[in-house]
Symmetry: C2
């Protein structure tokens, strides 16, 4: 099956509840879900685990914990409880990869201090996650998100963080939308090797329709995704490939149509 | 005078014609203009040169030539004539720095091939520019513009290009909006040294109001501009500091008010 590595991040079918998403994925022969804390919590942990089991859908990743610097989306600061709860949720539904969003720039506008806070925050969370069997995935976000969401913006910078920790507990997440522009991309992926524990794909639309929701289905934009998949695979990654799309037009479509399009395009627009 | 290094790029006062801009700058005690090809051409070369001379306003830079890869804004491909005309215009009004916009991704989506085309394009333009006494400024644009406008996105990558050429003919341009997020920023500026021939500033607004027009007045956003100015100066740059703002709300304001705000904020929000 050419879609055996295909995972769908729940945000891609935003109109669906967690239950609708799991049932939908099973209906389309998709074996992996990238889950989000909120919908899982809302549905209930034990029910979620049972639903996934019943439909043969596994968890490719959980999104998200972090915000070790800058503001949380709720407007507050570092939320230790929320981060530990995200670890618990990930383990409870059988996941073992939890994505970190580093957080944005401190009020004092110091990037060095903001970046130091990220390392401290991860170091503090690692023992708790390790005890739960959950690996923390450090993800560079696109530099356009540096101010508000992630002072971690390149693969090499993220690897500098990842390499401080035990590979059993902390790894690297690669998202085509975030890294495709990087002149050091191929070298950084080779450097990453088996530290890559998550791989997400979507395309970069031209023009970008929105400052943050400019992501398109693979094949619809400017990124040579198969070339990046080839480099990620060559580095040693063999896990699920998660399609994650933030785009209001995609969200307005019938999720069944979106899944059908992703499945049809996956061999040509994602696989090497 | 604390504003003796202040230059205003004409796009910052977009509602004004070239003549209004030069008169306005002189009125506010600003001695430098970052000019654009279109308005200068429209006003007339000799008239423009005379107007600048009469008002004691010098040209900090000309914007722009390039688009060596991908599509030109007019939808066409590489326009040799337009690039040479931009060189002529720069020299005719007494400027000696012409900004290059590299251009976006080729139709085949190959970044390596697109980037090679940039080097070839600059190499081809250098003799013509050198003969006119105009230096070509290679500028990394923010990675959010990689697809459509510039496959050149980091200072180090731009320096790799700049260092292929004679320092008398090709240099580096630094714009805070484009480079502030780079984890290698300080090291790259130190590496650049006296290859820096242009420095532009504006702030990164939070949230970004538009995919490309999200730039704010210095002090209004997330960038520690004085820290970057300090590093640029430490590298050896002593030239004008050009405030260039793409922002529809700024453009809707009375340009005299915008200039007064820039002048008032310059010592605190731009200078080290």
């Amino acid at each position: 099956m050419s879609v055996e590595r295909l995972a769908i991040n729940q945000i891609t079918v935003k109109a669906w509840s967690f239950e609708e998403t799991v049932r939908g994925l099973a209906r389309h022969g998709i074996g992996w879900i990238g889950a989000w804390v909120g919908p899982v919590e809302e549905y209930g942990l034990e029910r979620a685990a049972a639903l996934l089991r019943d439909h043969g859908v596994r968890v490719s990743s959980m999104c998200r914990a972090g915000f070790f610097t800058g503001k949380n989306p709720d407007g507050g600061g570092l939320d230790h409880d929320a981060n530990r709860r995200a670890v618990d949720l990930t383990a409870a539904i059988g996941g073992d990869v939890l994505y970190m969003v580093s957080g944005g720039v401190h009020d004092d506008l110091s990037l060095p201090r903001s970046r130091a806070a990220v390392v401290e925050g991860i170091a503090e969370l690692v023992p708790y996650a390790a005890a739960a069997g959950v690996r923390l995935a450090v993800e560079p976000l696109h530099p356009m998100m540096c101010a508000e969401r992630s002072v971690t913006v390149t693969l090499d910078q993220s690897l500098d963080i990842v390499e401080r920790f035990d590979p059993a507990h902390v790894g690297l997440a690669v998202d085509t939308y975030n890294v495709w522009w990087d002149p050091g991309l191929d070298a950084a992926l080779a450097r990453a090797g088996d530290r890559i524990i998550g791989y997400q794909v979507c395309d970069w639309l031209v023009p970008q329709p929105h400052p943050t929701f400019g992501r398109g289905l693979p094949g619809d934009g400017a990124i040579d995704i198969p070339a990046i998949t080839r480099a990620v695979d060559a580095a040693g990654f063999t896990g699920p490939i998660e399609v994650e799309i933030f785009n209001e037009k995609v969200w307005a479509r019938d999720p069944d149509d979106v899944l059908a399009a992703v499945v049809a395009g996956f061999p040509h627009h994602v696989l090497p």
